[in-house]
């Protein structure tokens, strides 16, 4: 293999089941969340990024621009987020693993191509380092108000996967998971960071490449004469091909049949959209991930994610110190939602306290899952700051059975 062919193979991630050693900075590092996210992408085999500068996400692509040429990768700074979010789709169809990185205003511009990626089943990763909104909002300060946008922002019905890291280490780990999930389900996957996690510097341990599991793209073994680009397997996921491999496929954002040809009718829509939704919904149990802290005997269940989960953790500890059985449920995968676990907890909980840096997004999902079996209380934040643990503690105290004794 000459060097040119090798670089092409690296860029297309053609052989990896384990991480490519070239991209993995094995060892212990002191990194912020943005830098860790970049390292996660490289470790996951991503060799193509396109982006447009936007605070507080820019450090990710700055690092990628610096690192990529050393490991056979490429960074394109595009003219805007519309271009970035579709350039990565083009790179994916050329064989690369690709991602883009942004924050709220850029995320808004990318909505069109989230729908395109869903409809064409283009596996890619989009990182949103959330800041305060709406509009230009608070460029340098944290927010968690894009959670519903990630779920519903593009038009039409669809399902996606979104993860929420609460530390630089998780920014590394979950970025790899995001790429793997994207390949497994052929769906856009979101890493919903926030400004605090992005700019917080902590220890990040990067394992040896052999210990990093990579889900390779599943290419078809069928010859062009037998291959149908949108014939799905038993899990509802079709096999892919690459442009240049001799498959005269047609890929369109229009509703299409198994051949990929436009089929603008009710039957085709039913078949396609239901499959796109079911391939995620029917695997919710496998995709959902969360972390539980002292939930076994908890009568107050605090639900929080991202940076807010770290604040909530302190509130839970403060409550425990006061003899209140509080626990923390931290969704790591936010979409699809951990509905089942919440329904179980509704049997034991006196109340649910949801803390998030928005004026009520995930709380609605919690309310839906709990279905009136216990009060669900929101501890909101409009953006610009993380919560004080006391705010969350107060909500815990208000609903705890022992509050009279303590006060």
């Amino acid at each position: 293999m000459d060097s040119k062919a090798k670089v092409l193979a690296v860029r297309q991630g053609r052989y990896c089941v384990q991480a490519d050693p070239a991209g993995v900075l094995t060892g212990t590092h002191f990194l912020d969340g943005d830098q860790a996210c970049c390292e996660g992408a490289l470790a996951a085999g991503c060799r193509f990024a396109a982006g447009y500068p936007i605070t507080p996400s820019t450090e990710i692509v700055e690092r990628f621009a610096q690192r990529a040429p050393l490991v056979g990768g490429i960074f394109l700074q595009m003219e805007d987020e519309l271009a970035s979010s579709i350039a990565i789709a083009g790179a994916v169809w050329a064989g690369a693993k690709a991602f883009t990185v942004t924050s709220g205003p850029g995320f808004s511009l990318m909505m069109e191509h989230i729908g395109f990626a869903v409809m064409t089943e283009t596996p890619l990763v989009i990182v949103d380092v959330q800041r305060g909104g709406p509009s230009t909002g608070l460029p340098t300060l944290p927010g968690q108000a894009d959670m519903m946008q990630a779920r519903w922002g593009s038009h039409g019905d669809y399902e996606i996967i979104a993860l929420s890291p609460n530390s630089p280490q998780e920014c590394f780990d979950l970025t790899i998971d995001a790429f793997n999930l994207a390949e497994q389900y052929r769906v856009p996957v979101f890493l919903m960071m926030d400004e605090c996690v992005g700019h917080m510097t902590e220890k990040v341990v990067i394992p040896p490449p052999g210990e990093i599991e990579i889900v390779p793209r599943r290419y078809t073994s069928l010859p062009p004469s037998q291959y149908l680009p949108y014939r799905a397997d038993a899990h509802g996921v079709p096999e892919m091909v690459r442009a240049g491999d001799g498959y005269p496929i047609h890929i369109t954002g229009l509703t299409h049949d198994e051949r990929g040809y436009p089929a603008t009718n009710y039957q085709a829509q039913e078949q396609l959209v239901r499959r796109l939704i079911n391939k995620i919904r029917q695997h919710t149990d496998e995709i959902v991930r969360y972390e539980e802290t002292t939930l076994d005997d908890a009568e107050i269940v605090v639900v929080a994610y991202g940076i807010t989960a770290r604040v909530a953790m302190q509130a839970v500890q403060m409550a425990r110190e006061r003899g209140i059985a509080a626990g923390l449920l931290r969704p790591i995968v936010v979409w699809p939602f951990l509905e089942k676990r919440l329904r179980e907890l509704a049997n034991q909980a006196r109340a649910f306290v949801v803390a998030e840096i928005n004026c009520g997004q995930i709380v609605q999902e919690v309310e839906r899952a709990v279905s009136g079996r216990a009060p669900v209380v929101l501890v909101p934040g409009a953006g610009g700051a993380v919560h004080h643990p006391e705010e969350i503690l107060e909500a815990i105290l208000t609903h705890a059975s022992t509050r009279e004794v303590l006060r």
Partner: protein, 293 residues
Amino acid sequence: MSVLAEVPLAPNPVEAFIRSERIPHVWCPGCGIGTTVNCFSRALLQSRLNLERVVVVSGIGCTGRVAGYLQLTSFHTTHGRAIPFATGLKVANPELTVVVYSGDGDLVSIGGNHFIHAARRNQDLKVICVNNFTYGMTGGQVTPTTPLSAISSTTPYGCFEEPFNLPFLAESAGATYVARWTSYHVRQLTHAMGEMLRKKGFSFLEIISGCPTLYGRRNRLGDGLDEMKYFKDKSVVQHGANTKEAGIGFQGPIVVGKFVDIERPVFLEQMNQQLARTLDAQYAGCVGDYVPS
């Protein structure tokens, strides 16, 4: 199926390039887009390119449907974004020949920003723009190329916006090949498309084409054939013309020909050279045409 036995040994050259099962296509009687597809198929055939590595990317609109009718690896992307999608394809695999085939509204209105930046970077893309002066798919609205005073559904009293002169725009933004023909000039189109397929760099071909159903009817220009006759009568071949003077007035003369054909390093060459120069042995390599020693 005895009639099929009469299909000749040398079939219609376009047949090998189209998805026959999808014909008849959506284009109206007298629309020029299909004509351009004939020219493209002949140019591809004559190019002797490995068709497995030829990719066609379209945006949205009538011309955006070209990708779906071509029996090649083809992508029908979002409105205006064919060029950035094509950029991702080409940069991730430089061995592909990437053709962007779309309309005036798609490429230079909603996609205008991508158009100028791809030209500026000299991305190695072959951009074919079928300019029918209107948004056909949505019912004939004004576009950035609609000539002054022309009627459209959203300029019912005549267009009062100065239109883009596309060859001038492309040249100014940095395109290395710029030509314009009309759907009447089938031989010249075939030739120009062949030149583009061989050319390295951002190549731009504007094809003035009729839209008899909307633009033509609203402006009382007759049917598709009448528009073709206008192209025949009013076209002025002027190779190397100053693109600044190639604007088109309502039913006015159309300057056609090859205007620009220059050499300039393409994006990947620039990138590879710069990275190799700066990083030296650390540079992990390139997949473009320039290979650092």
